[in-house]
Each structure stands twice: as C-alpha cells, then as structure tokens.
C-alpha cells in the first residue's frame, strides 16, 4: 500500500488508518464529529496527498484542455483555479478535476481513484507539442479548512494571503522551495490547499500544527463536510454512467464552447432530462446510506448515492438520483432503510448554509 509523505505523522498521532484507492490514509484521529465541528467552527488540517497532479505545458495546452474539459479554460487568468470535469463522448463523467492556470503551464488535480485513467485519456488525445507530466509521486497536498484557516496560515507563509480570493492561488517561496497556496477546498468553509514537495509538505504540516488552534482531520469528516454542501464525490454521486447535467454540474458545463468531448451528449441531456441528483434530509430519525431505495407514493423513483448523519444538522442527510419530475425541493419522499420506510424531504442545497468559504 502506498504512503503519503505525512504517513508517519498520522501513525504518531494514533490515527485510524484505512486503505483508500491504494493509499494508507487516516480516516479519523479522534472522532469524525469532533473533527467535523473543528472545521465548521475553527480549523482543521487534512492530508490529501493521495490526490494526483499533472503539469501540462506546450503552446497548444490551452486549446487542448478546452477540448478535454467541460468548463471554459479561456475565462481563466494566471493565478485562477477552476472546478471542471472530463467527459466521454457519451457524456459520462471520467473525473471531476481542478485546473490551475500558471503563466506558462496548467496543473490538473485529479482523484486518486482515476489517476491512471485520466493520464491515459489525456495522452490518447494530446497533440504532439503538449507535454503531460505526472508529478503526483513528488507532490504533497495539505488542506487547511475552517474560519480560522486564514489567520493560522498567515503565520507560516511569507506572502500576504489576506487578499487571496476564492478559487485563486499564489506561489510562495519558503526556505528556498516553491509552494502553491490555493484558496480552494471541499468543505464549504474558508480554506486553503497547499501543494509542495514531500520535504516541504512535512515541514509545513509541523509548522501549522505548532501554531495551535486546530486539529488534524481525517477522510471521515472530509466526507461528512462535503456532503453537507452537496459536493459530489466521484465513485458515489458521479461516475462514468452519470452526465454533468443530471449531476447538477450544469454550472461548470459550458455548452456555449464550440467544441469539447461530450458536448453533443450533454446538449441532448439538457433537453431530455431523465433524472436528477437531489439532496434530501430525513424527517424521521434514520440515516440513509449508499444504495438505499428512494420512494415516492409507493413507487421506487431512485437510489441514494451518498448518505450520513449530518454532524451540523444532527439529522440524516443524503444525495441520490430520482426520476425527473420527482426532484423538486419540498417533495416528500421515503427512504427504504433496511426494509423500513422512513420519511424524508427534498431540500434546496446546501444542507449547511452558514459556510464561510466566501469570507
């Protein structure tokens, strides 16, 4: 099993370790609820070094990426980050990704589960002059998330981050090493993601931990935090059988672009919607889980793709696909919880509305 550069820190902190797509990762240090609440109320630090990073360079990198991704690359300026996705010709989602634009190159951040698939897909389609360099094995990634993250991070970096806007990044030089500080995240809170080489990321982790006022957080609360925001998780809520329209990713799908792989299928999906990814909360005490059936007036209308007890709302919440027409907020549905019908209501996302991401 692969280890991130921060593996030894997790072991020293007595984290509970689990396998996550080939990586030995911390799922929790003390308690999912405690770690979740730290991110909502103060600050938490995550090791997400398992994520993959590709550097794309070459004169045609921009036009190539615009063809490979569903969002509009041409709207990006150097220093911008963009949430996007890659689709097959049939509209099925290959992966959801982050694109970072530098002066002369791009960085793509991909899910660990899809790294090889993405790399091969990009290479199959690239023009000769585009160079794709997989730097995942040399790159560490820390997410620092929560309303206190700005104050904590400012103590350990040289650049002024007070003006850093949502979904932008800066480069910093710390002890002679290049570090990327991006105001991005997966929690709905004010937060930053820091990319650096292994040695630097280890020092960074220690420096941040020494400031106090935060706790280490595992993948367990990363999942509950993202669910409360209705952020999709690849493999649960989106995959090769779902298209971005039904997944609620129409906002990053720029069908106005002249061409990208999957455009025709996405246009069709826009005109003939068959199902939607919805967010629902339980109105009875119950916890929905992946795979449970969703019911409307005794008819099966879909299934749960992600579910948990929400630590912030203290009730069961879930995401799932339902037939078009049954998807509207306010619709009362049922969830088949191991043979027992429990009541739920479709809500307008996010579940948690006090997030500080835009502070």
């Amino acid at each position: 099993m692969k280890r991130t550069p921060l593996y030894n820190k997790h072991v020293d902190l007595n984290a509970r370790m689990v396998e996550f797509f080939g990586y030995n990762m911390p799922i929790q240090y003390t308690s999912i609820v405690e770690e979740h609440n730290a991110v909502r109320n103060s600050c938490g630090i995550f090791d997400v070094s398992h994520m993959g990073e590709f550097i794309l360079s070459g004169e045609d990198a921009e036009s190539f990426l615009n063809k490979m991704t569903i969002n509009d690359i041409y709207t990006m300026n150097p220093g911008d980050a963009q949430y996007s996705a890659m689709c097959y010709k049939n509209g099925g989602i290959i992966d959801d990704i982050l694109v970072y634009k530098f002066d002369n190159q791009y960085m793509l951040v991909v899910n660990a589960s899809n790294l090889e698939k993405d790399f091969n897909w990009l290479n199959q389609h690239k023009p000769d002059d585009v160079i794709i360099n997989d730097v995942s094995q040399e790159t560490g990634l820390i997410a620092l998330q929560g309303p206190d993250s700005r104050n904590i991070l400012q103590k350990v970096v040289n650049v002024d981050i007070s003006k850093l806007k949502f979904y932008t990044f800066v480069e910093d030089n710390i002890d002679g090493r290049n570090v990327i500080i991006a105001r991005t995240g997966y929690t709905g809170e004010l937060g930053y993601e820091i990319y650096a080489d292994h040695d630097s990321i280890q020092k960074f982790w220690d420096a941040i931990m020494e400031t106090g006022g935060l706790i280490p957080c595992g993948l367990g609360c990363r999942d509950t935090l993202r669910m409360e925001m209705k952020f999709c998780l690849y493999g649960n809520d989106i995959d090769e059988t779902t298209n971005p329209i039904e997944a609620g990713l129409g906002w990053i799908t720029k069908t106005g672009k002249p061409d990208f792989i999957g455009r025709e299928a996405v246009l069709t999906a826009k005109e003939h919607k068959t199902r939607r990814l919805i967010a629902f909360e339980m109105t009875e005490r119950a916890v929905p889980r992946q795979g449970y059936k969703l019911i409307f007036q005794e008819n099966e209308i879909g299934f749960v793709t992600s579910g948990t007890q929400s630590p912030s709302l203290q009730k069961g919440i879930g995401l799932g696909y339902v037939q078009e027409g049954n998807h509207k907020p306010g619709t009362e549905i049922g969830v088949d919880i191991r043979g027992k019908m429990k009541k739920a209501i479709i809500i307008k996302p996010p579940f948690y509305k006090q997030g500080t991401a835009h502070l």
Binding site: I32, G220, A286, V287, R289, T308, Q309
Partner: protein
Amino acid sequence: MNVPSDLKYTRDHEWVAIKDGIAAIGITDFAQGELGDIVFVEFPEVGDSFEAGEPFGTIEAVKTVADLNAPVSGKILEINEDLDNDPSKVNSDPYGDGWIVKVKLSKSHEQDELMDATSYEELIG
C-alpha cells in the same frame, strides 16, 4: 482495550452480564471504537421476544450501521432510554451507562456458550 473479566462476550462484539436470570446487554469497547461516533440506537419494544442470534435492533454510527444480535434468547424487560438523549454514552461508557437492553432469559443453558474475557481478548487480538 477494556475487556472486563466479569462479563461474557459474543463473536458479534456484544457483552452480557447475567444475574438472577436477567441479562444486561451492550456492545464492547472494541465495537464502539470500530463503529466510531454513535448516532442512535434503534431498540426493540419492551416485551418483544428474540431467539439467540436474531437481530433485535440496530446501532447507527456516522460512518456505518450494525445489527444488534441477541446473544441469548429471551424477552426484552427494559431498554436504555437515556441513549435517545445521549447515544455517545455507548462510546464513552460501553460497559456502564452505555448498556442497551435488559432481557429475561428463556433458555438458561445458552449462557454457557458465551465467551469469557480471555477468549474474547484472543478474538479481537
């Protein structure tokens, strides 16, 4: 890992304390650690009867859900209603305030099939 020597155990990681034909039942320290933050316990009704091995309730944690299987046959005498207000007692005090149900035994010989603390410690290694 806390495994009190005066209790009996099952392979499903439940503990049983038997006194005067009545069994108090809960989940072990190991089990609560594996489940993580417990959200609620779904109890049977007082008066319900179960055969040993039959599911009598469920325990929901943030990350997962587990069946509660009857370690012994009998009738439910009492459920720990305090857990409705504070299910985290199962995490913080699994052998004390975190008890789940009390059962009147219907088959006295079954208790001989339960594990003692030494065997249970071997099971969880």
